[in-house]
Structure formats: C-alpha cells, structure tokens
C-alpha cells in the first residue's frame, strides 16, 4: 500500500528557520535507510505557508487567500510517499525518523486510496465507471 507521510509544521518551520547541520545529516541517514529498504517513492520539504496561497471555493465563487495561514499545527511542512506492506510498518518507520523539528512535532500517516480498498462491493461495472471518471478527471 502507498501512504502519504506528512510532517506537520511548527512555529519554527513557519518562520523559515533552517534545520541544523546535525539534523540535515540525521535526516539524510534516515532517507538512505528508506531507500535501502525499498520503500521511498518520493518526498520533499515545503516552504513556509507565508509563501503559499489558498483558493477558497463557494459555489461558483473563487477567492484567493495569501499566506501565512494561522493554524500552524495543521499545516504541512514536508511529505514523503512510501510503499509499505501495512500501516504498522509505516508507523515503525516513522518512529525511526529523527525529530524533524527543534521542539515537539508531529508526523501524520495517511493511506492512499486504492481500488482494492473497496473490496467486493465494487462490481466490474462500478470499477469501469470509476475508470472512466478518472479518465475524464485526468484531462484526457
């Protein structure tokens, strides 16, 4: 299964405080472990939300909101995409990650939807409709 691993923001990361050399090195070693275990698919760090934008939807209305955004602890500061056997394995790997921030911080793991998740409830017809829908939404 694929999981999205989200590193949550802190006041420091939102202020654009750069990690120390030690943390960079520790993170580098951890990433190397992920590569050698064959689970790392992608990952990157995000700049503070002060450099981000939001588009708010309300019916036909679209409003652009400039960062920074207030709810710091709910923001994302970085992400990985992993391929693991199950959530327990993802949790174990996250536990091995060095604390990505200076103070207390949080990493969230979210499984990515796969067709198999819907199990027997999905008939071939539904699967086909889903396929066609995805085909349309992916702009073909």
């Amino acid at each position: 299964m694929r999981v999205m691993v989200l590193v949550k923001a802190t006041e420091d990361s939102e202020a654009g405080v750069m990690p120390t050399t030690e943390l960079f090195e520790a993170m580098g070693r951890f990433n190397e472990e992920l590569v050698k275990a064959g689970i790392l698919l992608a990952g990157d760090g995000l700049k503070p939300s002060s450099q981000g934008k939001r588009v708010a939807f309300d019916g036909p209305g679209r409003t652009v909101i400039d960062g920074p955004f207030a709810e710091t602890r709910e923001l994302v500061a970085g992400f990985w995409l992993w391929e693991v056997k199950d959530m327990a394995e993802a949790v174990e790997w996250v536990k091995r990650c060095p604390n990505p921030m200076f103070g207390p911080s949080e990493i969230e793991i979210r499984p990515i939807y796969e067709m198999a998740d819907f199990g027997d409830a999905v008939t071939p017809e539904i699967a086909e409709r889903e396929r066609q829908l995805r085909a349309k939404t992916s702009g073909q």
Binding site: E32, V35, K36, A37, G38, I39, L40, L41, A42, E83, K85, D86, A88, E89, V91, E92, W93, M115, A116, P124, E125, A127, E128, R131, R134, A135, K136, S138, G139, Q140
Partner: protein, 419 residues
Amino acid sequence: MAGSETHQAIEAIFRIERARLIAGLARMVRDVGLAEELAQDAFVTALSEWSRTGVPANPGAWLTATAKRRAIDLLRRSRMLARKHAEIGRDLSEEDEAGIAAIEAAMDDDVGDELLGLIFIACHPVLSREARVALTLRLIGGLTTDEIARAYLTSEATVAQRIVRAKKTLGKAGLSFEVPRGEERRDRLVSVLEVIYLIFNEGYSATAGEDLIRPALCAEARRLGRILAGLAPDEPEVFGLLAIMEIQASRLAARVGPQGDAIPLTEQNRALWDRFLIRRGLAALERAESLGGAAGPYALQAALAACHARALRAEETDWPRLASLYDILRSVTPSPVVDLNRAVAHSMAFGPEAGLVLVDEIDPAALPHYAPLPAAKGDFLFRAGRLSEARNHFELAAELSRNAREKAFLLGRAAACSV
C-alpha cells in the same frame, strides 16, 4: 488490546529487520538455513520479552545482539564438543575467543553490503531458477512458504522442499558470503536481475479474481528492485530493470477490461496509466543511460516501454524510434519473439510491406504453435489489402490460440476479411 497492538508493531519491526538480520547472521555462521533459524529465535524471544517490557528504543540493535549472542553460544558449544572429541588442551580457548572476535567484527560490517551479499547468495547460479525465486522471496521478501506456494499456484510442501534443498545446495557449495567483485559480479548480477524480473512477470501475468498474493508479486519485485538500486547505485542494468518494472506497473489498471480480458497496449485507455510510476520509470531509465548502460538488455527494453509511456495517445507513438530500438535489441539479445515485435514496429513505422519482409525472415520453426506470429502477419496482409491471405493467417492464429477471448478476436478479424 494493547497486547495485539504491540504484537502488530513487533511483526512490523521484524519485517523491517528480518532480511538484514539474516544477512548479518549468514555472513557470521556461513549457513543461510541456520541464519534464518537464529533470526526466527530472536523474533520469538522478542515477542515474549517485548510483550512484557515494551519495545526497546532501538529494536533492530536488540534483535541483532540477541541473535548474535545465540550464534556465539552455538559456536562455543560446537567448539566445546569438538574439544572433547579431540581432547586438545587449553590452546583452543584462545582460538575460540579470536573466532568470536572475528564474528563480532563481521556483524558490525556495513549492513548494506551484507544484504547485497545475501541477495547474491539467494540468486546464486548453483541453484535452479525456481529455487532462486523461492529463496529470494523467502529470505529477502519475507514471504511465508504458504504465500509463495499460493503465488506460484503450487503446494506448500513443494515450496518448502524446494527451499530446504536450496539451502542444502548452498551449504555444500561452500560459497563466499561476500559481495562478488569484477567480472564475477557482472555475471552474478545477471542472475539477480533475472530472478527479480521473473517475480515481477509472474505477478504481472496474474488476472483479476486470482489470489491477491499473485499481483502482490509485482509490488514485491519492484521493492526488491528499489532495494537493489539503493545498494548498487552504480549498476546501470539495475536501473534499467527498475525502469521496465515501474513503467509496466503504470499500466496495471488499464491492461484488463471489466470482463478480465487483456487489452492490447495500443488500445488501452492511457488516462488510466499511473503517471507517477511512469515518471519514476523514466527517471530510472535516464539514470541507467547516464551510467553508460543505454545498450544493456534491460535498459533497451525499458526504452521500448518508455516510448509507449511517453505517447499520451496511441497515434502519437514514435514507431520509427521503436523500430530502431528493436534493431539494436535484436543484436544484443537475439530471439525470434524480438524479431516478431521488430517486424510489428517496422510495419507501424514504415508500412505493412516492411513488416511482411521482416516477418518472412523469421523461421516459423523457431516459433512453433505461436499464435502471435500468424496474427501479426495477418495484420500486415490485411493492411496491405491482401485480404484472402490475411483471412488464412487470422484463422490459423485463432486455431493456435489457447485463450478464448483472443480466439474470438482473431476469428472476428478473419471474418472482417470477407467483404
């Protein structure tokens, strides 16, 4: 409740640590079977201890230390036995300690190297292909014999016996557990890549409705490929293989219709292709080429797959490039199937006559009872307007096909020749 959570966590830890643990132990005791047993023992110990005390801060180090201690005990006991038998005096105890020190040093060596060594051992050419596949899935992939049996549609007893025999063969061969170097490394790597690609293809050929463990082989093979890429980052063919697997896996959702029928590449809904995997595949191919491996058999096949992957619509396929890639592949890995695909590519690039010339160069005896051969020729003849000849070939292909849907498709094409 908490107990089952701990149990799950311990299992996940063991899955993460298992291959590395076995690899370190195998180099230490020079016996793959014993290494696996020692790792299993450490796991059982962990299960009972951690359920009481909680998981230690560094579970990997804990497992390694526990297994190592057990291995040293075992060695001491066998040395003691040997001493009693031989009735040699004190000298041996010094030798004993030296031996143990050497073992400890071996366990502290570069972990990545040990895992790579174990992969090379599991895929050693002294073993049969089936044995290499089973042992790789067992030792590196951590699949149970039951899972391997289900994946390969065979009995658990067969797989278990295959693995036992393989371990015995390895033991008798007295192999080095070091990562091979130079020319030997090149030859042995061929076997490793072959095993991984065999596992991938077994999974890829699985159809909907089959045991889920079969399609899971694709994911396992890709994981093995990524592990190998992490351990041997300078080997172009590793990245060539990785590129093929990523690009082929990108089509998993598009290659079968709602009724489970296979959809040919040119007719697949390309919107269903996983662009993320394609990007990863193209990046791996680029890496293979930048390492100077563009002419490697895996890199060439990846380049072929990439050609299709880059075309957002079938009409945009760069057939002249495919034709020239097949020209090269043919000289690197000559095979009548490559020749047939080459003929198809040339027919698409330069017209049906070009295809006919090339398909007639193939000795039909080299591809006996092979439906795609007359099917391709039928297609060239059809496009060249030679309808009655085309019909004969489609009918012959339908006769040879063992797949009911394909048979119906070919008979349909035969019928379309009588206008």
